[in-house]
Symmetry: none
DNA sequence: AATGAATGAGCCTTCATTCAT
DNA sequence: AATGAATGAAGGCTCATTCAT
């Protein structure tokens, strides 16, 4: 069984994703985690510090994965991008809603300890992503591109597709409950789309037409 | 001078964008709008209803603009996409932060009147955007593409680029205050990137290489 | 009937005197004042600010009285001291427990806004008292004395006598409820003692023996 | 090294004097005493019981000293009063702030075990003080005086002078940091003042003028 | 004997809303 | 129509204490 600290972190991840940071009360958290309200302050100091701890708790894993991709010497750039897409889409669409939390809270223009902590995490991850892209450009495998904006596309598209999954279903007119929109299928659809998008936009057109 | 109702809506747009819905108090709103606290309930019924009113207040304009683009018979599909990009980037990066509010609150998985109202707006807008893309495909100007995901890219990239502007600056190592990152330049950079992205991915490669 | 603000101030004076600042909760205050808990913050901003308001509320009157004594041109110094004693003892032993509150909170060595506000009040009052004493010395009616310490005696004795009234009763072995220890008698006893003390210590011995 | 119980008592004396009983938390105490939070309940049962223990811990010593003065057969009454002043001023102004704690908590009108325990201590001490005064009166060395009130003057003046040391400095317009207001000098000033006050008020005027 | 973990009650404050005018 | 006053509920947090070891 998880210890109380981890129970709280799990609950926080779920509730912050669902209701946002402001919309989640420490009493909600305590109830979900099945611990006493005072425990949150006891373990983390404050609700805000809990958020920061959650960020640290998840961020290490995120960056490690990216670094792993970067270190793969034998992989060609486009394969790395595809790995990145697979990995990133899985992360965001998984039950672990961590990334969504990060990006939402970041979109608030409130400056605070918390905001800075989040920005830092995302910045470091962005840094790893950029390495992959720049390597491809340097090796003349990729066209010369605006790398920072390309990251925004990868991250933003995934986020948007995830957040609006239900809407996409509506747009197509299908029942969201229907088989064709289950998580795995939707996820694969997103992955395939992103890989195609990256290929068409990154690779030189002769390669594309080949 | 704006009437009180509009003052409140203006204030709401600014504060919700800055601090989120939950993070903004009715007192904050009243102060910003320079009206009495009771006014919000008086005019809108509740803070939540105010949000819905804000949505209605802005949504009409948003959709009208999209419909306008769609109706332009003489425009070729790629020009329409470019108009769409120009329009959308301007909207989101402008001082009118309405779109950002919509998308953030949508990312909360709370089902409510409010949520549904927002989803509805976005859905209708997405519908107009899809028309443009599908028309291009039907006219064989565009490759066959996953239209819904392409919308996610347009919307998601713009959102992400806007939210992480400061981060992009950091990533490049420049001072956010420096001239090269002022709003207009950044906006144009985003527009150019998106237009290039759309061209390379939507158009057949022969056209691209032409 | 008192307005709510005054009801709160009255309740605060009573409860702070009884239970101290820390020992009194805003719920206690609200209950005593028969107002909603939120009213305390609404009117005063915080519990601490309420304290400061209480200080201001009472301090003006206190100082005015002292200034009045000082301005009395025809009064000889010893009469002024006696007026001061009458006035001060009445104040402290009266149902208005304000002075006791001030002195207790001052005895805490915590530096805070509150503490400084209190110190300020007391300082200004002490200033007025000293004027009376120094005038007597200048006119050669009083012996040369340590004026500041004399104030400490006037204030400290009154405070101590009030705080330990019950103890004095025990010391004499009388029932605190008995007639001879009712408030008026005890007050007069204190006044007479202080006046005698001041006369013997301030006046030159020839006058005393006269 | 002190054992844990004594460490706690030492910490309690310091913190209660500084922040009052209510203003001091068990965690503050534990931290200051460098023991576990649970220790306080473990050793003393409760915070309140700790206070009572502190009172017992110090009270014995206090009274012993007074009894010692009383038993000095060869000392004349005025010398005893002077010894009493020396002793009392030292106690209250010393780093051992026990007496200040007693008097402050006594000034709260809350009836409790604690309050009664304190009242008892002070009563017994007052009893010893009164003996000294009454002996002087019986031996016709002192004028007939209100002994109980005289105790209030001794105790109250010392308390007041100590609590308002900083204020006296301000009143004189000197820098509290300045040499002339260091602890020793201030203490001596208070002692000299009190001795003079006692002499002038207790002794018959012929003696005074002599 | 000693303690880190855990608790329920209570703290002060702020919330969105409604009332009386 | 418009508002200052007022409210009960809920906010995050700290409290003294007790539990399990």
């Amino acid at each position: 069984m998880l210890d109380k600290r981890d129970q709280i972190l799990e609950a926080a991840e779920e509730l912050f994703a669902q209701k946002g940071f402001e919309g989640t009360s420490v009493r909600d958290l305590a109830k979900k985690a099945k611990v006493n309200v005072a425990m949150i302050s006891y373990y983390f100091g404050s609700k805000e510090k809990l958020f920061e701890s959650l960020v640290e708790y998840r961020a290490a894993f995120l960056r490690e994965k990216l670094q792993l991709i970067n270190r793969e010497e034998v992989l060609d750039p486009i394969s790395k991008i595809e790995m990145l897409i697979d990995f990133y889409v899985d992360r965001i669409t998984s039950q672990s809603r961590f990334s969504r939390i990060l990006h939402r809270e970041l979109s608030l223009q409130q400056r605070s300890e918390m905001h800075n902590a989040i920005a830092d995490i995302i910045l470091r991850n962005a840094h790893e992503m950029r390495k992959i892209i720049q390597e491809g450009i340097r090796k003349k495998v990729f066209r010369k591109m605006d790398a920072e904006m390309l990251i925004a596309t990868l991250v933003g598209t995934t986020m948007q597709a995830t957040n609006s999954k239900e809407m996409v279903c509506k747009l197509i007119g299908s029942d969201p409950q229907k088989f064709s929109f289950n998580d795995t299928r939707y996820k694969n659809r997103l992955k395939n789309y992103l890989k195609d998008l990256m290929r068409t936009t990154l690779l030189y057109s002769k390669k594309q037409s080949a």
